[in-house]
């Protein structure tokens, strides 16, 4: 009688132990899966915010061209150059990103737009303008997206075509 009872207790303990091991293993797997899933959701959300910059940047009042308080769907060339001088103030908005404009139509000499070129009478005699750049000290991945934007030159009153290039290091 005693040995039968002991055997049943042993069996019950064995079942409880196996069940506990399986339950703990299940919880660990679920926790890891859940953590990865949350990380992926955060990254996806950040990626969406990054893609949204393609829409936000050309519509920033600091860049958008306007005449007599009427806004137009283009970037003012001189405002873009002005913004490139105030990069430090935009970290809260852009974070670790690089924002470039590459003028593609009409064709312009292949060089970076600098302060000295800006002062020249034939500005923009260059085809690359770095609006914002902040690179993290270390990163695992880089993502680049680009979109065409119209650039208004208020001096010549012409519209050029540029590619807005956004780079995100994370």
């Amino acid at each position: 009688m005693s040995s039968k009872a002991q055997l049943e207790i042993n069996e019950t303990i064995l079942v409880i132990v196996i069940f506990s091991v399986l339950a703990i293993a299940g919880l660990v797997v679920f926790h890891r899966y859940n953590t990865e899933s949350i990380k992926a959701s955060i990254l996806e959300s950040e990626r969406l915010s990054f893609y949204d910059l393609l829409n936000q940047v050309p519509n920033m009042p600091e860049l958008k061209c306007s005449s007599q308080n009427i806004q137009d769907d283009c970037i003012d060339l001189y405002k873009a150059f002005g913004l490139s001088k105030l990069q430090l103030k935009y970290f809260d908005k852009f974070g670790y990103k690089t924002i470039n404009l590459r003028f593609i139509y009409p064709k312009l000499p292949d060089k970076e737009c600098t302060e000295s070129l800006f002062q020249a009478t034939d500005f923009p005699n260059c085809n690359r303008l770095k609006i914002y750049e902040r690179i993290p000290s270390s990163y695992k991945a880089t993502e680049k997206i680009s979109s065409p934007v119209a650039i208004y030159n208020p001096v010549t009153q012409d519209y050029m075509l540029a590619v807005l290039e956004l780079t995100w290091q994370y």
């Binding site: 039968k4 055997l7 049943e8 069996e11 079942v15 196996i18 069940f19 399986l22 299940g26 797997v29 679920f30 899966y33 899933s37 996806e44 990626r47 969406l48 893609y51 949204d52 393609l54 829409n55 050309p58 137009d72 769907d73 283009c74 593609i104 139509y105 997206i145 680009s146 979109s147 065409p148 934007v149 119209a150 208004y152 009153q157 012409d158 519209y159 050029m160 075509l161 590619v163 807005l164």
Partner: protein, 153 residues
Amino acid sequence: MAILRKAQVETFGLLIIVILIVFIAIFIIRLSSLSTDNSSNIKDSIIANNVITSITKVTICQKQQLPSILKACYNHALSCNTDSCQLLSKELSSMLESSGFSKNEYKLTAATKDKELLSIGDCNIKSGNVVASSPYTIYIEGSSAILKMYICR
């Protein structure tokens, strides 16, 4: 004793089946939520709309922009001493390819109700993965042309 053991084995088996079903259900739910790649479509939609708003503004020649050259194309008139329709096709292809689009990645169309004025790019808009811009209307003497950009991925 034998009946008890059998019952325990059955309970244990049932437990394993329940755990397996829970895991399979979690993976199915996860996979179904991954199947729609929304972020890529959102990005392409923004780009397609940016293409339309920017190319309609660009000065193509002698202070003329796309809407006025498209009107000339509709009326078979010249723009900058060139056939307007040909000028648009050539310049817009050049702009889009310089922007990084390959020929079979995009299609740009402009058409009135009765006439196609412009169609550049080899993207098959009937294929599955196509994102289109919002239609941009250009008014042409009693009619209107719809300009649309498609991006194939």
